[in-house]
Amino acid sequence: MLGLLAAPLVWRGLIGPLPVPQLGTPLPLLLLAGVLVGIGTRLAAGCTSGHGVCGLSRLSPRSLLATLSFMGSAGLTVFVMRHLLGWG
């Protein structure tokens, strides 16, 4: 965790200016997103890296089901937000 937090600092020291992230999500939605990510990753015991990278690397059926589930719901969420509600 400390390594992840420190990565931008190390990047600036070793490589140079940081890539600028584009953030467009309004604060209330950002907070809702954070809470959902927090609950979801605990409940599913993994996230994009836990199931998507590590689990799939181990050919784990559990992780395949998890990855399909979150890729599906994330894609559907973006579809609803962008193309049905016209946000972002």
């Binding site: 965790m1 390594g3 992840l4 937090l5 990565a7 931008p8 600092l9 190390v10 990047w11 940081l18 890539p19 992230p21 584009q22 953030l23 999500t25 939605l29 950002l30 907070l31 809702l32 997103a33 954070g34 809470v35 959902l36 990510v37 927090g38 609950i39 979801g40 990753t41 605990r42 409940l43 599913a44 015991a45 996230c47 994009t48 890296s49 199931h51 998507g52 590590c54 689990g55 690397s57 181990r58 050919l59 059926p61 559990r62 992780s63 089901l65 998890a66 990855t67 589930s69 979150f70 890729m71 599906g72 719901s73 994330a74 894609g75 969420t77 973006v78 579809f79 937000m81 193309h83």
Partner: protein
């Protein structure tokens, strides 16, 4: 000490990879998830690349009882397909689709001293706390 140092190096490498690949740029992640719009499939290559490397590492680790540094090694169960797994993944996916941020990149954004990163990580920690009472209501 060696254990802490290896965790720090792993986190740093992971974070640098997220920065380099664009995974820590929420707009790019949302572009990857927007399959029916102007789809940007490039992050699929990041995942494929990560799996291509991790595959061999896990093949070595599988069946070992201890890590290279001598720590006990336990790999998670592979086969139990549960309601919790699917429900948790669906909720996580909705959050990921709303903001384009998952836990790793959230921490990187917080490390860039961006208020959006701090808010996201704070909300994520709250969600992790809410998990405990919620967990009792589920089979």
């Amino acid at each position: 000490m060696a254990k802490l140092l290896s965790a720090l190096i792993a986190g740093l490498l992971f974070g640098l990879g997220l920065l380099l690949s664009g995974m820590s740029n929420p707009a790019k992640v949302l572009g990857f998830l927007d399959v029916s719009g102007r789809w940007d499939p490039s992050l699929a290559l990041v995942m494929a690349g990560a799996i291509a490397v991790a595959f061999f590492a896990f093949r070595r680790a599988e069946g070992q009882t201890h890590s290279v540094l001598g720590e006990p090694l336990q790999l998670p169960d592979k086969s139990r397909l549960t309601l919790r797994l699917v429900l948790g993944s669906v909720l996580f996916g909705i959050g990921w689709g709303l903001a384009g941020i998952c836990p790793g990149p959230g921490l990187v954004l917080a490390g860039m001293a961006l208020p959006a990163g701090w808010w996201f990580v704070a909300a994520m920690l709250l969600g992790m706390l809410l998990f405990r009472p919620l967990s009792r209501c589920l089979p």
